[in-house]
Amino acid sequence: MPIDRDEVLRIAALARLRVSPEEAEALAGDLDRIVAHIDSLREVELPDDSGSLTYFDQDVHREDRAGESLSRDDALKNAAETDGEFFLVPQVVDKPGGKTRDDRATRSGGDDAGRGGDR
Protein backbone atom coordinates (compact mmCIF):
# COMPACT_ATOMS: atom_id res chain seq x y z
CA MET A 1 0.00 0.00 0.00
CA PRO A 2 1.89 3.08 -1.19
CA ILE A 3 1.40 6.19 0.91
CA ASP A 4 1.36 9.61 -0.69
CA ARG A 5 0.90 13.13 0.55
CA ASP A 6 -2.89 13.04 0.30
CA GLU A 7 -3.07 9.86 2.27
CA VAL A 8 -0.91 11.46 4.96
CA LEU A 9 -3.25 14.42 5.10
CA ARG A 10 -6.28 12.13 5.36
CA ILE A 11 -4.74 10.20 8.26
CA ALA A 12 -3.53 13.38 9.93
CA ALA A 13 -7.07 14.72 9.89
CA LEU A 14 -8.31 11.54 11.56
CA ALA A 15 -5.56 11.80 14.16
CA ARG A 16 -6.17 15.52 14.71
CA LEU A 17 -2.59 16.44 13.88
CA ARG A 18 -1.66 19.64 12.12
CA VAL A 19 0.71 18.72 9.33
CA SER A 20 1.96 21.29 6.84
CA PRO A 21 2.06 20.32 3.16
CA GLU A 22 5.89 20.15 3.32
CA GLU A 23 5.77 17.95 6.41
CA ALA A 24 3.20 15.77 4.69
CA GLU A 25 5.59 15.27 1.79
CA ALA A 26 8.41 14.16 4.07
CA LEU A 27 6.12 12.01 6.19
CA ALA A 28 4.75 10.34 3.09
CA GLY A 29 8.28 9.30 2.17
CA ASP A 30 9.03 7.94 5.65
CA LEU A 31 5.73 6.16 6.04
CA ASP A 32 5.90 4.72 2.58
CA ARG A 33 9.22 3.04 3.32
CA ILE A 34 8.03 1.81 6.70
CA VAL A 35 4.80 0.43 5.28
CA ALA A 36 6.75 -1.26 2.49
CA HIS A 37 8.74 -3.09 5.14
CA ILE A 38 5.62 -3.92 7.11
CA ASP A 39 3.93 -5.21 3.99
CA SER A 40 6.34 -8.15 4.05
CA LEU A 41 4.05 -9.55 6.71
CA ARG A 42 1.40 -10.25 4.15
CA GLU A 43 3.42 -13.15 2.85
CA VAL A 44 3.43 -14.85 6.22
CA GLU A 45 1.32 -17.94 6.05
CA LEU A 46 -0.15 -18.90 9.33
CA PRO A 47 -0.98 -22.36 10.54
CA ASP A 48 -4.71 -22.86 11.03
CA ASP A 49 -4.33 -22.95 14.75
CA SER A 50 -2.08 -19.98 15.11
CA GLY A 51 -2.58 -19.58 18.82
CA SER A 52 -4.70 -17.38 20.97
CA LEU A 53 -3.92 -13.78 21.76
CA THR A 54 -5.03 -14.06 25.32
CA TYR A 55 -2.33 -15.13 27.65
CA PHE A 56 -4.32 -14.23 30.66
CA ASP A 57 -5.37 -17.09 32.85
CA GLN A 58 -7.28 -14.74 35.09
CA ASP A 59 -10.16 -12.35 35.08
CA VAL A 60 -9.45 -9.19 36.95
CA HIS A 61 -12.36 -7.17 38.22
CA ARG A 62 -13.14 -4.69 40.84
CA GLU A 63 -15.85 -4.99 43.47
CA ASP A 64 -18.42 -2.22 43.17
CA ARG A 65 -17.19 -0.01 45.97
CA ALA A 66 -17.00 3.74 45.66
CA GLY A 67 -13.82 5.49 46.72
CA GLU A 68 -12.52 8.99 46.99
CA SER A 69 -12.58 11.29 44.01
CA LEU A 70 -10.03 14.00 43.39
CA SER A 71 -10.84 17.44 44.69
CA ARG A 72 -12.06 19.71 41.95
CA ASP A 73 -8.94 21.82 42.33
CA ASP A 74 -6.75 18.78 41.72
CA ALA A 75 -8.90 17.73 38.77
CA LEU A 76 -8.64 21.15 37.14
CA LYS A 77 -5.18 22.28 38.22
CA ASN A 78 -3.29 21.15 35.11
CA ALA A 79 -5.85 22.42 32.60
CA ALA A 80 -5.07 25.17 30.09
CA GLU A 81 -8.36 26.96 30.74
CA THR A 82 -11.04 26.62 33.41
CA ASP A 83 -13.55 28.81 35.17
CA GLY A 84 -12.92 27.14 38.50
CA GLU A 85 -15.79 24.73 37.93
CA PHE A 86 -15.52 23.49 34.35
CA PHE A 87 -12.84 22.76 31.80
CA LEU A 88 -13.22 25.36 29.07
CA VAL A 89 -12.71 24.67 25.39
CA PRO A 90 -13.40 26.65 22.24
CA GLN A 91 -16.98 26.27 21.08
CA VAL A 92 -17.71 22.77 19.91
CA VAL A 93 -20.56 23.33 17.48
CA ASP A 94 -23.34 25.78 16.81
CA LYS A 95 -26.52 24.18 17.98
CA PRO A 96 -29.87 24.94 16.43
CA GLY A 97 -32.37 26.18 18.95
CA GLY A 98 -29.85 28.18 20.89
CA LYS A 99 -30.41 27.23 24.49
CA THR A 100 -27.68 26.00 26.76
CA ARG A 101 -27.92 22.29 26.54
CA ASP A 102 -26.11 19.06 26.78
CA ASP A 103 -25.77 17.90 23.20
CA ARG A 104 -24.51 14.54 24.32
CA ALA A 105 -27.52 13.38 26.25
CA THR A 106 -28.07 10.83 23.56
CA ARG A 107 -24.85 11.03 21.63
CA SER A 108 -22.99 8.04 22.84
CA GLY A 109 -23.54 5.18 20.51
CA GLY A 110 -22.59 7.17 17.48
CA ASP A 111 -23.40 6.04 14.01
CA ASP A 112 -23.88 2.38 14.62
CA ALA A 113 -27.58 2.18 13.93
CA GLY A 114 -28.66 -0.76 11.92
CA ARG A 115 -25.30 -2.47 12.19
CA GLY A 116 -27.30 -5.48 11.10
CA GLY A 117 -26.78 -4.37 7.50
CA ASP A 118 -29.06 -3.49 4.64
CA ARG A 119 -32.73 -3.25 5.22
Partner: protein, 503 residues
Protein backbone atom coordinates in the same frame (compact mmCIF):
# COMPACT_ATOMS: atom_id res chain seq x y z
CA UNK B 1 -76.07 12.85 -31.56
CA UNK B 2 -74.34 10.74 -29.12
CA UNK B 3 -73.56 11.78 -25.62
CA UNK B 4 -69.96 12.37 -24.90
CA UNK B 5 -68.81 10.29 -22.00
CA UNK B 6 -67.89 12.29 -18.97
CA UNK B 7 -64.18 12.88 -18.51
CA UNK B 8 -62.54 10.42 -16.19
CA UNK B 9 -62.40 11.75 -12.68
CA UNK B 10 -59.21 13.64 -11.88
CA UNK B 11 -56.95 11.03 -10.28
CA UNK B 12 -56.89 11.59 -6.56
CA UNK B 13 -53.50 10.62 -5.23
CA UNK B 14 -53.77 7.20 -3.69
CA UNK B 15 -51.65 7.01 -0.55
CA UNK B 16 -48.99 4.37 -1.14
CA UNK B 17 -48.94 1.16 0.81
CA UNK B 18 -45.95 0.97 3.10
CA UNK B 19 -44.44 -0.78 6.07
CA UNK B 20 -42.75 1.08 8.91
CA UNK B 21 -39.48 -0.37 10.19
CA UNK B 22 -38.20 0.95 13.46
CA UNK B 23 -35.22 -0.30 15.43
CA UNK B 24 -34.34 1.26 18.73
CA UNK B 25 -30.99 1.70 20.42
CA UNK B 26 -31.28 2.23 24.13
CA UNK B 27 -28.54 3.32 26.49
CA UNK B 28 -29.16 2.56 30.13
CA UNK B 29 -27.09 3.87 32.98
CA UNK B 30 -26.55 1.08 35.44
CA UNK B 31 -27.23 1.87 39.06
CA UNK B 32 -23.88 0.89 40.48
CA UNK B 33 -22.22 2.54 43.42
CA UNK B 34 -19.05 3.27 41.47
CA UNK B 35 -18.20 3.96 37.84
CA UNK B 36 -17.51 1.29 35.22
CA UNK B 37 -13.72 1.39 35.34
CA UNK B 38 -12.84 3.38 38.45
CA UNK B 39 -14.01 3.93 41.99
CA UNK B 40 -15.58 7.35 41.58
CA UNK B 41 -19.13 7.41 42.93
CA UNK B 42 -22.00 7.44 40.45
CA UNK B 43 -24.25 10.29 41.47
CA UNK B 44 -26.61 12.57 39.57
CA UNK B 45 -26.60 16.32 40.14
CA UNK B 46 -23.28 16.77 41.96
CA UNK B 47 -21.33 20.01 41.44
CA UNK B 48 -19.34 19.86 38.18
CA UNK B 49 -16.04 17.99 38.15
CA UNK B 50 -16.24 16.75 41.73
CA UNK B 51 -16.64 13.07 40.86
CA UNK B 52 -13.45 12.45 38.91
CA UNK B 53 -10.15 10.66 39.39
CA UNK B 54 -7.07 9.95 37.28
CA UNK B 55 -8.86 7.05 35.55
CA UNK B 56 -12.02 8.82 34.42
CA UNK B 57 -10.09 12.03 33.68
CA UNK B 58 -7.93 9.97 31.34
CA UNK B 59 -4.75 11.13 33.05
CA UNK B 60 -1.47 9.75 31.72
CA UNK B 61 -0.81 6.28 33.12
CA UNK B 62 -4.23 5.64 34.67
CA UNK B 63 -5.82 2.26 33.84
CA UNK B 64 -9.38 0.90 33.72
CA UNK B 65 -10.53 -2.06 35.84
CA UNK B 66 -14.03 -3.36 35.10
CA UNK B 67 -16.72 -3.15 37.75
CA UNK B 68 -17.90 -6.67 38.52
CA UNK B 69 -21.38 -5.62 39.58
CA UNK B 70 -21.92 -3.71 36.38
CA UNK B 71 -21.01 -6.85 34.45
CA UNK B 72 -23.44 -8.90 36.51
CA UNK B 73 -26.23 -6.37 36.05
CA UNK B 74 -25.74 -6.43 32.30
CA UNK B 75 -25.63 -10.22 32.34
CA UNK B 76 -28.83 -10.32 34.37
CA UNK B 77 -30.54 -8.09 31.82
CA UNK B 78 -29.21 -10.22 28.97
CA UNK B 79 -30.50 -13.32 30.75
CA UNK B 80 -33.91 -11.74 31.32
CA UNK B 81 -34.12 -10.84 27.62
CA UNK B 82 -33.09 -14.36 26.62
CA UNK B 83 -29.98 -13.16 24.83
CA UNK B 84 -27.33 -15.66 23.94
CA UNK B 85 -24.56 -14.93 26.41
CA UNK B 86 -20.98 -14.67 25.22
CA UNK B 87 -18.66 -17.37 26.50
CA UNK B 88 -15.74 -15.05 25.94
CA UNK B 89 -16.42 -11.36 25.99
CA UNK B 90 -14.02 -8.47 25.59
CA UNK B 91 -13.85 -4.71 25.49
CA UNK B 92 -12.88 -2.60 22.50
CA UNK B 93 -11.81 0.96 22.04
CA UNK B 94 -13.93 3.25 19.93
CA UNK B 95 -11.70 6.14 18.95
CA UNK B 96 -12.97 9.65 18.38
CA UNK B 97 -12.17 13.11 19.60
CA UNK B 98 -14.59 15.09 21.71
CA UNK B 99 -13.88 17.36 24.67
CA UNK B 100 -16.07 15.34 27.03
CA UNK B 101 -14.44 12.06 26.02
CA UNK B 102 -11.33 12.24 28.20
CA UNK B 103 -9.21 9.45 26.76
CA UNK B 104 -10.00 10.17 23.13
CA UNK B 105 -11.68 6.77 23.01
CA UNK B 106 -14.68 5.19 24.60
CA UNK B 107 -14.34 1.71 26.05
CA UNK B 108 -17.15 -0.27 24.46
CA UNK B 109 -17.69 -3.71 22.97
CA UNK B 110 -17.59 -4.43 19.25
CA UNK B 111 -17.56 -8.04 18.09
CA UNK B 112 -17.99 -9.97 21.31
CA UNK B 113 -20.88 -8.27 23.06
CA UNK B 114 -22.08 -9.68 26.34
CA UNK B 115 -25.38 -10.71 24.78
CA UNK B 116 -26.56 -11.47 21.23
CA UNK B 117 -30.11 -11.92 20.01
CA UNK B 118 -32.86 -12.03 22.58
CA UNK B 119 -36.35 -10.64 22.74
CA UNK B 120 -38.55 -8.12 24.54
CA UNK B 121 -42.31 -8.68 24.68
CA UNK B 122 -44.37 -5.57 24.25
CA UNK B 123 -48.03 -5.04 25.13
CA UNK B 124 -50.17 -2.90 22.85
CA UNK B 125 -53.88 -2.68 22.25
CA UNK B 126 -53.43 -5.51 19.77
CA UNK B 127 -51.97 -7.79 22.39
CA UNK B 128 -48.54 -9.12 23.17
CA UNK B 129 -45.82 -9.12 20.49
CA UNK B 130 -42.15 -10.07 20.63
CA UNK B 131 -39.53 -7.59 19.41
CA UNK B 132 -36.28 -9.32 18.54
CA UNK B 133 -32.99 -7.89 19.76
CA UNK B 134 -29.66 -7.67 17.98
CA UNK B 135 -27.31 -7.31 20.88
CA UNK B 136 -26.55 -6.03 24.33
CA UNK B 137 -23.18 -4.62 25.31
CA UNK B 138 -21.46 -2.60 28.00
CA UNK B 139 -19.72 0.72 27.51
CA UNK B 140 -18.72 3.76 29.48
CA UNK B 141 -20.61 7.03 29.40
CA UNK B 142 -19.03 10.31 28.30
CA UNK B 143 -18.95 13.55 30.26
CA UNK B 144 -21.15 16.51 29.39
CA UNK B 145 -20.38 19.50 27.19
CA UNK B 146 -22.42 22.58 27.83
CA UNK B 147 -22.63 24.99 24.93
CA UNK B 148 -23.40 28.61 25.53
CA UNK B 149 -25.94 30.43 23.47
CA UNK B 150 -23.61 33.22 22.53
CA UNK B 151 -19.96 33.31 23.44
CA UNK B 152 -17.34 31.05 22.06
CA UNK B 153 -16.56 28.56 24.76
CA UNK B 154 -17.99 25.22 25.72
CA UNK B 155 -17.80 24.03 29.28
CA UNK B 156 -16.94 20.45 30.11
CA UNK B 157 -18.09 18.52 33.17
CA UNK B 158 -16.62 15.04 33.56
CA UNK B 159 -18.70 13.78 36.51
CA UNK B 160 -20.64 11.48 34.21
CA UNK B 161 -17.58 10.22 32.33
CA UNK B 162 -17.11 6.53 32.96
CA UNK B 163 -20.60 5.80 34.28
CA UNK B 164 -21.54 2.24 33.26
CA UNK B 165 -23.95 2.00 30.37
CA UNK B 166 -25.66 -0.93 28.77
CA UNK B 167 -26.62 -0.54 25.15
CA UNK B 168 -29.53 -2.62 23.91
CA UNK B 169 -30.09 -2.65 20.16
CA UNK B 170 -33.35 -4.01 18.73
CA UNK B 171 -34.01 -5.45 15.32
CA UNK B 172 -36.19 -3.20 13.15
CA UNK B 173 -39.26 -5.13 14.26
CA UNK B 174 -41.18 -2.16 15.60
CA UNK B 175 -43.90 -1.02 13.20
CA UNK B 176 -45.58 2.01 14.74
CA UNK B 177 -45.29 4.88 17.16
CA UNK B 178 -47.43 2.98 19.66
CA UNK B 179 -45.15 -0.02 19.47
CA UNK B 180 -42.10 2.17 19.91
CA UNK B 181 -43.63 3.57 23.08
CA UNK B 182 -44.61 0.12 24.27
CA UNK B 183 -41.06 -1.13 23.64
CA UNK B 184 -39.56 1.55 25.81
CA UNK B 185 -42.16 1.01 28.49
CA UNK B 186 -41.47 -2.71 28.55
CA UNK B 187 -37.71 -2.27 28.63
CA UNK B 188 -37.99 0.27 31.40
CA UNK B 189 -40.21 -2.06 33.45
CA UNK B 190 -37.67 -4.83 32.92
CA UNK B 191 -34.67 -2.83 34.15
CA UNK B 192 -36.65 -1.67 37.13
CA UNK B 193 -37.66 -5.24 37.93
CA UNK B 194 -34.02 -6.20 37.75
CA UNK B 195 -33.21 -3.18 39.88
CA UNK B 196 -30.27 -2.30 37.64
CA UNK B 197 -31.26 1.18 36.49
CA UNK B 198 -33.64 3.96 37.41
CA UNK B 199 -34.76 4.02 33.80
CA UNK B 200 -35.50 7.72 34.12
CA UNK B 201 -35.48 9.43 30.73
CA UNK B 202 -35.58 12.97 32.12
CA UNK B 203 -32.41 12.41 34.11
CA UNK B 204 -30.90 10.76 31.09
CA UNK B 205 -30.31 7.37 32.63
CA UNK B 206 -32.41 5.83 29.88
CA UNK B 207 -31.66 7.32 26.45
CA UNK B 208 -33.09 6.15 23.23
CA UNK B 209 -32.33 6.55 19.55
CA UNK B 210 -34.90 5.16 17.16
CA UNK B 211 -33.83 4.41 13.60
CA UNK B 212 -36.61 4.57 11.13
CA UNK B 213 -37.31 3.77 7.50
CA UNK B 214 -40.14 2.68 5.24
CA UNK B 215 -40.66 -0.09 2.75
CA UNK B 216 -43.02 1.44 0.22
CA UNK B 217 -44.88 -0.54 -2.36
CA UNK B 218 -43.82 1.09 -5.59
CA UNK B 219 -44.89 0.76 -9.22
CA UNK B 220 -45.02 -2.77 -10.57
CA UNK B 221 -44.86 -4.45 -7.19
CA UNK B 222 -41.39 -3.16 -6.42
CA UNK B 223 -40.34 -2.33 -2.90
CA UNK B 224 -38.77 1.05 -2.35
CA UNK B 225 -36.69 1.36 0.77
CA UNK B 226 -36.28 4.83 2.18
CA UNK B 227 -32.87 5.57 3.70
CA UNK B 228 -32.56 4.85 7.40
CA UNK B 229 -32.77 7.86 9.66
CA UNK B 230 -31.50 7.77 13.19
CA UNK B 231 -33.17 10.24 15.53
CA UNK B 232 -31.37 11.65 18.56
CA UNK B 233 -32.38 13.84 21.52
CA UNK B 234 -35.51 11.82 22.21
CA UNK B 235 -36.10 12.33 25.90
CA UNK B 236 -39.43 10.75 26.82
CA UNK B 237 -41.57 7.76 25.98
CA UNK B 238 -44.07 10.09 24.39
CA UNK B 239 -41.41 11.68 22.20
CA UNK B 240 -40.17 8.40 20.82
CA UNK B 241 -43.68 8.00 19.45
CA UNK B 242 -43.58 11.55 18.08
CA UNK B 243 -40.22 10.93 16.45
CA UNK B 244 -41.55 7.85 14.67
CA UNK B 245 -44.71 9.62 13.55
CA UNK B 246 -42.81 12.66 12.28
CA UNK B 247 -40.29 10.55 10.42
CA UNK B 248 -42.96 8.44 8.76
CA UNK B 249 -44.69 11.61 7.57
CA UNK B 250 -41.43 13.16 6.42
CA UNK B 251 -40.26 10.07 4.57
CA UNK B 252 -43.64 9.68 2.88
CA UNK B 253 -43.49 13.30 1.79
CA UNK B 254 -40.02 12.71 0.44
CA UNK B 255 -41.31 9.75 -1.53
CA UNK B 256 -44.16 11.84 -2.85
CA UNK B 257 -41.65 14.43 -4.04
CA UNK B 258 -38.88 12.17 -5.34
CA UNK B 259 -40.61 8.93 -6.21
CA UNK B 260 -38.50 5.77 -6.31
CA UNK B 261 -35.33 7.92 -6.40
CA UNK B 262 -35.80 8.41 -2.69
CA UNK B 263 -34.08 5.06 -2.20
CA UNK B 264 -30.81 6.52 -3.52
CA UNK B 265 -30.51 8.88 -0.57
CA UNK B 266 -28.01 8.42 2.22
CA UNK B 267 -28.52 7.27 5.73
CA UNK B 268 -28.62 10.29 8.05
CA UNK B 269 -28.93 11.40 11.62
CA UNK B 270 -31.62 13.82 12.69
CA UNK B 271 -32.36 15.47 16.00
CA UNK B 272 -35.75 15.69 17.67
CA UNK B 273 -36.60 19.21 18.74
CA UNK B 274 -39.33 18.98 21.35
CA UNK B 275 -39.97 22.71 21.57
CA UNK B 276 -41.12 22.76 17.96
CA UNK B 277 -42.06 19.08 17.71
CA UNK B 278 -39.98 18.51 14.61
CA UNK B 279 -36.82 16.76 13.53
CA UNK B 280 -33.83 18.47 11.97
CA UNK B 281 -30.84 17.18 10.02
CA UNK B 282 -27.72 16.69 12.14
CA UNK B 283 -25.38 14.84 9.81
CA UNK B 284 -25.30 12.72 6.73
CA UNK B 285 -23.59 9.40 6.28
CA UNK B 286 -20.68 11.02 4.43
CA UNK B 287 -19.66 12.74 7.64
CA UNK B 288 -19.61 9.40 9.44
CA UNK B 289 -16.68 8.77 11.71
CA UNK B 290 -13.96 6.23 11.28
CA UNK B 291 -13.89 4.89 14.83
CA UNK B 292 -10.81 2.69 14.39
CA UNK B 293 -12.13 0.09 16.79
CA UNK B 294 -9.58 -2.34 18.19
CA UNK B 295 -9.47 -4.63 21.23
CA UNK B 296 -8.88 -2.76 24.51
CA UNK B 297 -5.38 -3.90 25.51
CA UNK B 298 -5.76 -2.72 29.10
CA UNK B 299 -8.50 -5.23 29.91
CA UNK B 300 -8.00 -8.95 29.32
CA UNK B 301 -10.86 -10.79 27.63
CA UNK B 302 -13.33 -12.18 30.15
CA UNK B 303 -14.55 -15.75 30.17
CA UNK B 304 -18.16 -15.90 31.26
CA UNK B 305 -17.97 -19.12 33.23
CA UNK B 306 -20.57 -20.93 35.26
CA UNK B 307 -19.94 -18.84 38.36
CA UNK B 308 -20.78 -15.68 36.43
CA UNK B 309 -23.88 -17.24 34.93
CA UNK B 310 -25.10 -18.49 38.28
CA UNK B 311 -24.65 -15.12 39.92
CA UNK B 312 -26.37 -13.37 37.05
CA UNK B 313 -29.28 -15.80 37.12
CA UNK B 314 -29.68 -15.21 40.85
CA UNK B 315 -30.22 -11.57 40.07
CA UNK B 316 -33.11 -12.25 37.74
CA UNK B 317 -36.38 -12.13 39.67
CA UNK B 318 -39.76 -13.29 38.40
CA UNK B 319 -40.33 -11.00 35.43
CA UNK B 320 -43.43 -8.91 34.74
CA UNK B 321 -45.11 -11.20 32.22
CA UNK B 322 -44.65 -14.30 34.36
CA UNK B 323 -45.83 -12.49 37.42
CA UNK B 324 -48.95 -11.14 35.70
CA UNK B 325 -49.94 -14.63 34.67
CA UNK B 326 -49.33 -16.00 38.14
CA UNK B 327 -51.36 -13.26 39.84
CA UNK B 328 -54.29 -14.03 37.58
CA UNK B 329 -53.97 -17.72 38.26
CA UNK B 330 -53.09 -17.67 41.94
CA UNK B 331 -54.99 -14.66 43.25
CA UNK B 332 -57.84 -14.50 40.79
CA UNK B 333 -57.00 -10.98 39.66
CA UNK B 334 -58.41 -9.75 36.37
CA UNK B 335 -55.90 -9.31 33.53
CA UNK B 336 -56.27 -5.58 33.94
CA UNK B 337 -55.63 -5.56 37.67
CA UNK B 338 -52.72 -7.95 37.30
CA UNK B 339 -51.13 -5.72 34.65
CA UNK B 340 -51.57 -2.63 36.81
CA UNK B 341 -50.09 -4.26 39.87
CA UNK B 342 -47.17 -5.83 37.99
CA UNK B 343 -45.93 -2.79 36.09
CA UNK B 344 -43.50 -1.85 38.81
CA UNK B 345 -41.75 -4.43 40.88
CA UNK B 346 -42.09 -2.62 44.23
CA UNK B 347 -45.86 -2.47 43.72
CA UNK B 348 -46.08 -6.13 42.88
CA UNK B 349 -43.82 -7.09 45.79
CA UNK B 350 -45.82 -4.99 48.22
CA UNK B 351 -49.08 -6.34 46.94
CA UNK B 352 -47.98 -9.90 47.25
CA UNK B 353 -46.66 -9.48 50.76
CA UNK B 354 -49.91 -7.84 51.83
CA UNK B 355 -51.92 -10.71 50.37
CA UNK B 356 -49.70 -13.19 52.19
CA UNK B 357 -50.36 -11.24 55.37
CA UNK B 358 -54.07 -11.85 54.92
CA UNK B 359 -55.38 -9.02 52.76
CA UNK B 360 -57.87 -10.00 50.08
CA UNK B 361 -56.26 -9.93 46.64
CA UNK B 362 -58.89 -7.88 44.81
CA UNK B 363 -59.23 -5.18 47.49
CA UNK B 364 -55.47 -5.06 47.96
CA UNK B 365 -55.00 -4.60 44.22
CA UNK B 366 -57.46 -1.73 44.29
CA UNK B 367 -55.51 -0.12 47.09
CA UNK B 368 -52.20 -0.09 45.22
CA UNK B 369 -53.00 3.07 43.28
CA UNK B 370 -53.70 4.87 46.52
CA UNK B 371 -50.38 3.72 47.97
CA UNK B 372 -48.45 4.71 44.87
CA UNK B 373 -50.08 8.12 44.93
CA UNK B 374 -48.73 8.65 48.44
CA UNK B 375 -45.33 7.38 47.38
CA UNK B 376 -45.25 9.85 44.48
CA UNK B 377 -46.37 12.74 46.64
CA UNK B 378 -43.67 12.02 49.14
CA UNK B 379 -41.07 11.14 46.55
CA UNK B 380 -40.40 8.04 48.60
CA UNK B 381 -40.33 4.45 47.48
CA UNK B 382 -43.24 2.25 48.43
CA UNK B 383 -41.32 0.37 51.06
CA UNK B 384 -40.39 3.55 52.88
CA UNK B 385 -43.87 4.94 53.49
CA UNK B 386 -43.87 3.87 57.12
CA UNK B 387 -46.59 1.33 56.42
CA UNK B 388 -45.32 -2.13 55.74
CA UNK B 389 -47.33 -4.80 53.95
CA UNK B 390 -48.41 -6.42 57.24
CA UNK B 391 -49.97 -3.34 58.78
CA UNK B 392 -51.39 -2.39 55.43
CA UNK B 393 -52.99 -5.85 55.29
CA UNK B 394 -54.47 -5.28 58.72
CA UNK B 395 -56.13 -2.12 57.45
CA UNK B 396 -57.46 -3.83 54.34
CA UNK B 397 -58.88 -6.61 56.50
CA UNK B 398 -60.68 -4.11 58.73
CA UNK B 399 -62.35 -2.61 55.69
CA UNK B 400 -63.25 -6.04 54.41
CA UNK B 401 -64.70 -6.96 57.79
CA UNK B 402 -66.81 -3.82 57.77
CA UNK B 403 -65.07 -2.37 60.77
CA UNK B 404 -64.37 0.87 58.99
CA UNK B 405 -65.59 2.57 55.86
CA UNK B 406 -63.19 2.46 52.88
CA UNK B 407 -63.28 6.21 52.53
CA UNK B 408 -62.40 6.80 56.15
CA UNK B 409 -59.65 4.23 55.92
CA UNK B 410 -58.14 5.92 52.89
CA UNK B 411 -58.57 9.51 53.98
CA UNK B 412 -57.87 9.32 57.67
CA UNK B 413 -56.29 6.08 58.77
CA UNK B 414 -53.70 5.42 56.08
CA UNK B 415 -52.14 8.92 56.19
CA UNK B 416 -51.97 8.75 59.97
CA UNK B 417 -50.38 5.30 59.84
CA UNK B 418 -47.71 6.74 57.59
CA UNK B 419 -47.13 9.66 59.92
CA UNK B 420 -47.14 8.00 63.29
CA UNK B 421 -46.49 4.36 62.58
CA UNK B 422 -49.46 3.38 64.78
CA UNK B 423 -51.54 0.25 64.26
CA UNK B 424 -54.76 0.82 62.29
CA UNK B 425 -56.99 -0.48 65.15
CA UNK B 426 -55.48 2.05 67.49
CA UNK B 427 -56.07 4.93 65.06
CA UNK B 428 -59.64 3.87 64.39
CA UNK B 429 -60.32 3.74 68.12
CA UNK B 430 -58.65 7.03 68.86
CA UNK B 431 -60.41 8.87 66.08
CA UNK B 432 -63.69 7.11 66.81
CA UNK B 433 -63.91 6.01 63.21
CA UNK B 434 -65.12 2.51 63.94
CA UNK B 435 -68.31 1.64 62.14
CA UNK B 436 -71.42 1.36 64.33
CA UNK B 437 -72.38 -2.25 64.36
CA UNK B 438 -74.54 -1.86 67.44
CA UNK B 439 -77.90 -3.04 66.16
CA UNK B 440 -79.93 -1.52 68.94
CA UNK B 441 -78.65 1.92 68.07
CA UNK B 442 -79.18 1.29 64.39
CA UNK B 443 -82.68 -0.11 64.90
CA UNK B 444 -83.78 3.07 66.62
CA UNK B 445 -82.09 5.30 64.05
CA UNK B 446 -83.71 3.32 61.24
CA UNK B 447 -87.11 3.50 62.85
CA UNK B 448 -86.68 7.26 63.24
CA UNK B 449 -85.77 7.62 59.57
CA UNK B 450 -88.83 5.66 58.44
CA UNK B 451 -91.05 7.66 60.72
CA UNK B 452 -89.70 10.93 59.37
CA UNK B 453 -90.02 9.86 55.74
CA UNK B 454 -93.18 7.85 55.20
CA UNK B 455 -93.15 8.52 51.45
CA UNK B 456 -89.84 6.80 50.94
CA UNK B 457 -91.03 3.91 53.07
CA UNK B 458 -94.15 3.60 51.00
CA UNK B 459 -92.21 3.81 47.74
CA UNK B 460 -89.92 1.02 48.84
CA UNK B 461 -92.85 -1.12 49.85
CA UNK B 462 -94.31 -0.40 46.43
CA UNK B 463 -91.22 -1.97 44.90
CA UNK B 464 -89.03 1.09 44.30
CA UNK B 465 -85.76 -0.29 45.56
CA UNK B 466 -83.95 2.99 45.05
CA UNK B 467 -86.13 4.65 47.64
CA UNK B 468 -84.03 2.84 50.20
CA UNK B 469 -81.18 5.20 49.34
CA UNK B 470 -82.88 8.18 50.87
CA UNK B 471 -83.56 6.29 54.09
CA UNK B 472 -80.00 5.06 54.25
CA UNK B 473 -78.76 8.60 53.80
CA UNK B 474 -80.78 9.69 56.79
CA UNK B 475 -79.42 6.93 58.98
CA UNK B 476 -75.85 7.64 57.91
CA UNK B 477 -76.27 11.31 58.65
CA UNK B 478 -77.71 10.54 62.02
CA UNK B 479 -74.79 8.28 62.93
CA UNK B 480 -72.13 10.64 61.66
CA UNK B 481 -71.20 8.30 58.80
CA UNK B 482 -69.96 5.63 61.13
CA UNK B 483 -72.72 3.16 60.57
CA UNK B 484 -71.78 0.11 58.56
CA UNK B 485 -73.82 0.59 55.37
CA UNK B 486 -74.40 -3.12 54.96
CA UNK B 487 -75.89 -3.40 58.42
CA UNK B 488 -78.01 -0.26 57.93
CA UNK B 489 -79.40 -1.69 54.75
CA UNK B 490 -80.23 -5.03 56.36
CA UNK B 491 -81.95 -3.35 59.32
CA UNK B 492 -84.02 -0.99 57.14
CA UNK B 493 -85.16 -3.79 54.87
CA UNK B 494 -86.09 -5.87 57.87
CA UNK B 495 -88.18 -3.12 59.48
CA UNK B 496 -89.87 -2.17 56.23
CA UNK B 497 -90.84 -5.70 55.27
CA UNK B 498 -91.90 -6.74 58.76
CA UNK B 499 -94.02 -3.71 59.51
CA UNK B 500 -95.62 -3.59 56.12
CA UNK B 501 -99.20 -2.47 56.84
CA UNK B 502 -100.40 -4.66 54.01
CA UNK B 503 -98.89 -7.76 55.50
Amino acid sequence: MTATPPPPPASTPVPPKYRVLVGIEVHLQLRTRSKMFCRCPVRFGSPPNTLTCPVCLGMPGALPVPNRDAMLMALALATAMQCELAELTKFDRKNYFYPDLPKGYQISQLDRPLGSGGVIEIITEDGVRPIRLQRLHIEEDTGKSLHEDAGNVSRVDLNRAGTPLVEVVSEPDITSAAEARAYLTALRALVRYLDISDGNMQEGNLRCEPNINLHIEGPGGTTIKTPIVEVKNVNSVRNVGRAVTLEVERQLAEYAALGPAVADGHRSTRGYDDTHDRTFLMRRKEDAHDYRYFPEPDIPPITIGSAWLREAAERVPELPHARRARFVEEYGLSDYDADQVCRERPTADFFEQAVKAGAGAKPAANWMDELNRHANERGAPLDQLGVGPERFAALVKMVEAGKIAHKAAAREVLPRMMETGEEPEQIVDELGLGQIDDSALLWSAAQDAIDQNPKAAADFRAGKEQALGALMGLVMRETGGKANPKVVRRVLVEILTESDPEN
